[in-house]
């Protein structure tokens, strides 16, 4: 006991504080990150009476240090003695919530929100709420911005008088002189509405919402759109028309594209929040307008929502709404001038087939898919191909296969390797849907050609693609179609291609099974141990290690072991290293 106390006194706070003051930022940062260690060493009482006052008084530092401090203090409750004392953490966090740098302030607010939950209702009113008030009436905009994030966490747990004050403060900040503060308030409007009593939502929040939604700055107006979702969810259906819809309609036609973009981006949420009736009467025409917007950004955002919007339409007349109102707009988007719009559409358009059923899909959607499959932009084509499974379920893929093939071939030979990579990744899926016959006839050559692509990432992807194909089509198919070609590459003059043989064998041996591996692959690997390029030789060692478990012990002892032993005395050190590793992993020593 005495010894332990002696230990403690070895580290007086002065030394620790000296560390926190060190000239080197990195060292200060390290110390702050170990603040919990310091607090632990000091014990709860000295943490409260010495460490926290020090931290509060000396908050002027690099933002990086402050950020770490703000984060630490959020987890400090136990270190100051538990919930009873948690309010001791408020002063330093209050200062941090007023600094200029946004990340620091946000972190301080996050920590304040966290520890607010650890306050008792009494402490919340005595300590926390006054802090919120001070921040809300601060001189410089930063403290008022921070206050916006704190109202909703204390509101539910305070008395009704204090509640009234909080509402008043929030109102004031919503009409703050500084746009930064109005933005902060607008972004917390939805969150605050959720904790308010319904009557106050109507009397307090709605006027604020309306005002923010017609703010002179579009950056404020667009945040009101987000709040709209939460507010609409809270209100009973009969109030939506008078309280929310005028504002929402106005936002959908705002003169700033940023606001319209926001409406498009939040469309599914809005649709759910306002319910089927309003959707039919109001949102359908609004959505049509967004799909025809003059800014490509807005059209792309709306195009992204086409499937979700249609899915969530009321079922009774869903098909009719889609066919008469949405589909004509979609048809136009297929030949949009902007590639982002087309590719956004291509990523969801296939989803419409499940909603519209077989006949409509064949008659109306199929021509659109085919047009997009021939689009000049590879991303559009890729997005169509990547969603083929949706159509497959409804009409089967055969309908598309004639157009699919040229599209795939073109993508497979695209000059951008990322495009080639993307199409390779869809190969197993396509193979599954198109069937082995079609695949052998049309796509097999492509898959083999990728093995000798000049970009490594493509060769690598082609290798793992083969594995997936073998898993789908079986070992026999592999033996007849793939293995001979792969093994043939072992004699290629280009050593990179010879190595591809080894990589393929690594990937395929398990799927192909012992028989094929031992009889066909192993001899080729062993023969390659005499390759003149060291990289090939050490990859032989790696391959042997990899396929060893598939082979029987006889082959291992009589064939693999001598070769690995030979490689283990190779002149190249890497070859030696990998040979020895293989020997020890396969337990051949």
């Amino acid at each position: 006991m005495a010894g332990a106390d002696g230990d403690d006194s070895l580290y007086p706070i002065a030394v620790l504080i000296d560390e926190l003051r060190n000239e080197d930022v990195q060292l200060r940062l390290n110390s702050i990150k170990k603040l919990s260690t310091i607090a632990l060493a000091l014990g709860v009482e000295r943490t409260r009476t010495e460490l926290l006052p020090f931290l509060t008084d000396t908050i002027y530092d690099e933002d990086e240090v402050l950020l770490a401090l703000a984060e630490q203090l959020g987890n400090f409750t136990m270190l100051v003695g538990g919930p009873e004392y948690v309010h001791c953490l408020l002063p330093p966090l209050e200062s941090l919530a007023t600094v200029e740098e946004t990340v620091v302030r946000d972190k301080a607010v996050e920590s304040l929100r966290k520890i607010s939950q650890e306050h008792s209702p009494v402490d919340l009113e005595v300590h926390f709420e006054p802090l919120v008030k001070r921040l809300a009436s601060g001189d410089w905009f930063t403290s008022r911005t921070s206050a916006c994030g704190l109202f909703s966490v204390c509101y539910p747990r305070v008395s009704s008088t204090v509640k009234a004050e909080i509402r008043q403060h929030f109102r004031t900040l919503c009409s703050d002189d500084t746009p930064m503060v109005r933005r902060a308030a607008a972004s917390k409007l939805g969150e605050f509405a959720k904790v308010l009593e319904l009557d106050y939502v109507k009397t307090d929040i709605i006027p604020l919402f309306t005002a923010l939604a017609s703010d002179e700055q579009d950056s404020v107006r667009l945040l009101a759109v987000e709040a709209c979702v939460s507010i609409a969810t809270l209100l009973p259906q009969e109030d939506l028309e008078t309280l929310v819809m005028p504002t929402l309609r106005q936002a959908a036609e705002d003169k700033s594209w940023r606001v319209r973009y926001m409406v498009a981006d939040k469309f599914s949420e809005l649709q759910k929040a306002v319910g089927p009736e309003i959707t039919k009467n109001d949102l359908v025409p609004a959505f049509q307008n967004l799909l025809k917007d003059c800014e490509a950004e807005v059209r792309a955002a709306a195009a992204n929502k086409v499937k979700e919007f249609c899915e969530n339409l009321p079922e009774d007349n869903r098909e009719q709404i889609i066919m008469t109102h949405i589909l004509p707009c979609v048809k136009e988007l297929v030949s949009d001038t902007n590639q982002h719009v087309k590719s956004a559409l291509a990523s969801v358009i296939m989803g419409l087939s499940t909603i519209l059923g077989k006949d409509n899909t064949i008659e109306h959607l199929l021509p659109l898919f085919l047009t997009q499959l021939k689009d000049e932009c590879p991303e559009v084509r890729l997005n169509i191909i990547s969603n083929l499974d949706c159509v497959n379920e409804v009409i089967g893929i055969r309908q598309l296969s004639q157009s699919l093939l040229p599209a795939i071939v073109e993508l497979a030979e695209d000059a951008k390797w990322r495009v080639r990579l993307a199409i390779i990744e869809y190969m197993p899926l396509l193979a599954g849907q198109l069937g082995v016959e079609f695949f052998d006839e049309k796509l097999n050559t492509l898959c083999m050609a990728w093995l000798i692509d000049h970009v490594y990432a493509i060769r690598e992807a082609a290798t793992s693609n083969l594995t997936k194909l073998v898993e789908k089509f079986g070992a026999e198919w592999a033996q007849n179609t793939i293995v001979p070609k792969v093994l043939g590459m072992a004699n290629d003059p280009n050593y990179l291609h010879r190595m591809t043989t080894l990589f393929c064998i690594n990937a395929l041996s398990e799927a192909c099974g012992q028989d094929i591996t031992t009889k066909q692959m192993l001899p080729v690997v062993l023969k390659m141990s005499n390759d003149q390029v060291a990289n090939v030789r050490f990859n032989v060692a790696k391959s042997l290690q990899k396929i060893g478990p598939v082979l029987d012990s006889n082959a291992l002892q009589t064939e693999v072991k001598p070769v690995l032993e030979k490689l283990a005395s190779d002149s190249d050190m890497d070859v030696k290293y990998f040979a020895q590793e293989a020997i020890s992993v396969l337990a051949l020593a």
Partner: protein
């Protein structure tokens, strides 16, 4: 066809107008691999809503009607020019576009030459016409990272009309008949706010006109000055802390440069706050190179007004000193030299320690341009004289870095420069220099020992934490 573009406001002529040329060391010019982009042009959303062809009834020329009828005709022409055309559609309304262009030209000449045209009724019509044409939501920006050396700016498609509208508005504001007392009813806060938003235009030609317009408005409308300053504040704060995107920062700073020049002494608290809380944080923005010259000019203007601001400014710069971007570091060093050029010796003493600790770090930067830029300070006579006066403080701070670089730096040019600096120090204060050389080794050893002690301290603390943790788990009884 039309007059020259307005020359920059006189008060600003000393402000740097060209964007700073930042030397690139990159040997692999990206230009060679990148395809030359076509000049892009864009237009605002507002133009595309009208599908029908536009018809304007041609009016007679102003000079062809008797002067009593001219004011009435002037108003009619202003009203006609409120019509805006879609310039993205290069084929539509060709005739009417040409008619509006010639009308605007006529209006420009008319306000430049004519006398007695500015009736009271003309003011709202002029402002309305200008508002209809220039105020619009700017379209989305394609390039997130605009590189002035690589990228072509996107140009405004409707420029053939827009330019004339700006030209007209400037002539109007500069006209001898112009009366701010009448105009202030129409050129109000809302007007200014919309005008400021246009500074985000990607078209540099437009920003250039806006600069002149705003400067004229600031000069003529005393009642709007505080408001303009506050809104610029908000734009900058949003730029620094929220978006990092705003095209017209350089232009706004240029205007501010001349505004600061005119501040009365002693400076108001508002202005000092602007310096410390807005201008200094502007240094943190990634695209600093696009407006650094203008920013540095503003800072130096402030310091020339009130030298006592030197300390907070330099401390601010040190706080935001770039940690990873050497290009920005070079800019900071350049700005610091501009500040040191005007620093008062009494202010220098207050700040020399933290300042030279930073300079010492720059001098030992592995990036030779940073080291070189810092070492160039020793070629500046005024800075040299300040260093000499305070050599007993500065030499110990600088010595270790200089000594080490003289042995270790990879770049021979830097080593040569460092030798010169060391020589200068030796001549300045040979006793101290000899002392520092003699104790160099033991000083390094002391530092290492301190390092070791620090590590031990943390280790012991961690052990303690572990023990306490165990104890509180009840494993070790207390």
């Amino acid at each position: 066809m039309m007059g020259d573009r307005p020359s920059p406001p006189r008060a600003m002529s000393s402000a740097p107008t060209t964007s700073p040329s930042v030397d690139k060391v990159d040997g692999f010019s990206r230009k060679s691999v990148r395809k030359a982009k076509q000049k892009r042009s864009q237009s605002s959303s507002q133009f595309r809503s009208q599908g029908k062809p536009i018809e304007l009834t041609p009016l007679p020329l102003l000079k062809d009607v008797p002067s009593p009828e001219q004011p009435e005709l002037f108003l009619k022409k202003l009203q006609q020019c409120c019509t805006v055309f879609d310039f993205m559609d290069t084929l539509s309304d060709l005739k009417m576009k040409e008619y509006k262009r010639s009308t605007l030209n006529e209006l420009v000449d008319y306000v430049t030459v004519s006398r007695g045209y500015l009736t009271e009724q003309a003011y709202p019509e002029v402002v309305k016409m200008v508002s209809h044409n220039i105020f619009r939501t700017l379209p989305p920006s394609d390039s997130n990272e605009f590189d002035p050396e690589e990228d072509e700016p996107t140009l405004e498609a409707s420029w053939p009309h827009l330019q004339l509208v700006y030209e007209f508005f400037i002539r109007f504001l500069e006209s001898q008949e112009f009366q701010p007392s009448i105009a202030k009813k129409y050129i109000d806060q809302k007007f200014v706010l919309q005008l400021l938003e246009l500074f985000d235009s990607e078209d540099p030609r437009e920003r250039d006109y806006l600069k002149t317009v705003l400067h004229r408005i600031y000069g003529k409308f005393l009642g709007l000055r505080a408001f303009i300053r506050k809104q610029i504040n908000n734009i900058f704060l949003r730029f620094v802390y929220e978006t990092e995107h705003f095209k017209g920062v350089a232009e706004l700073l240029e205007i501010l440069g001349s505004i600061i020049n005119g501040f009365a002494l002693p400076l108001k608290a508002e202005h000092k706050q602007f310096l410390v809380k807005v201008l200094i944080p502007l240094h943190t923005v990634r695209s600093l190179s696009l407006f650094h010259a203008q920013l540095a000019y503003c800072i130096v203007q402030f310091l020339e007004k009130d030298p006592t601001l030197t300390e907070p400014v330099i401390r601010g710069l040190l706080k935001f000193w770039p940690k990873t971007c050497s290009q920005k570091e070079v800019m900071f060093l350049g700005e610091l030299e501009e500040i040191l050029d005007v620093i008062e010796p009494t202010q220098f003493v207050k700040i020399q320690e933290p300042l030279f600790k930073q300079i010492s770090r720059c001098v030992s930067s592995p990036h030779f341009q940073v080291a070189e830029r810092a070492l160039y300070y020793w070629n500046n006579e005024y800075i040299m004289s300040l260093i000499e006066e305070n050599s007993s403080v500065i030499l110990p701070i600088m010595f270790a870095s200089l000594y080490r670089i003289s042995k270790e730096h990879w770049n021979p040019a830097i080593v040569a420069l460092v030798y010169n600096v060391l020589k200068a120090f030796m001549e300045m204060n040979s006793t101290l220099f000899d002392e520092l050389t003699a104790t160099y080794k033991s000083d390094r050893q002391r530092e290492k020992k301190k390092e070791k002690e620090r590590e031990d301290l943390w280790k012991k603390l961690e052990d303690l934490e572990l023990k306490r943790g165990l104890r509180s788990d009840g494993i070790i009884p207390t």
